[in-house]
Symmetry: none
Subunit: 121 residues, 2 copies
Amino acid sequence: MSRSNPRVLSTLERAGGFASAQEVYKLMQREGEKIGLTTVYRSLQSLVNDKIVDLLRREDGEAIYRLCGEHHHHHLVCKSCGETVEIEGGAIEKWAKSMAEEHGFRDVGHTAEIFGICSKC
Amino acid sequence: MSRSNPRVLSTLERAGGFASAQEVYKLMQREGEKIGLTTVYRSLQSLVNDKIVDLLRREDGEAIYRLCGEHHHHHLVCKSCGETVEIEGGAIEKWAKSMAEEHGFRDVGHTAEIFGICSKC
DNA sequence: ATGGAAATGAAAATCATTTTCATTTCTGCT
DNA sequence: AGCAGAAATGAAAATGATTTTCATTTCCAT
């Protein structure tokens, strides 16, 4: 078993606690970190096993890693220029919770993203 | 633009209305249908465009296609067995709309999925 | 210092999905 | 019927994320 490389977790945090393995890798490269893609994957997997990060899926199926426990937020993304705004989702949290309870689900998480065209585009 | 090959839809129905592209393809092969994998993919994409089937994701990121009603809804998915419940998202619709307006976004859409462990697992 | 375990990463393998492109099948039209 | 252009098809190659392999390096306890 491999343990997580601490620089990976720290980079994920710096990325806003929400990124894919490839993004974490590229970010570390840009910052001059000497690390292989394989290690990034292994570290993220290990963090998921330890329940330190959540594993979610983008719409295209790419895995995205999100820090657990952290007060999480949602995104409002411009389909045209990619600008992203972090938004609060209080209503969503309640909705997810009540829906899950209603159907007897436990260990519940959720994803919610809003996308559209921003005022500049 | 290619239109959906009707045999693909009929196979998806026969598969219980819930299968991946690869599964639909293998099923058709076993039944002696002469069809290429490419056409299966194209047909399923087209069915998604026409909102005749829903596109969701397995835990491993593989796309699964699922016949579903035409009303807008969200999903509650079991991470363990894959059971899926269609749920209403009235609160989400309002949230997405108000968040988008607040930040000047237009042509807005959204995704929202809840995942957890169902009562049977 | 030393031996074994754990970590690392480059390259190859895997696997779903998409793209390319040449061929075949339809279509409408004369 | 015959013909041209459009649409559909599928085999093979390309893509892209993720995993595996395996040889090398780093750690750690002795």
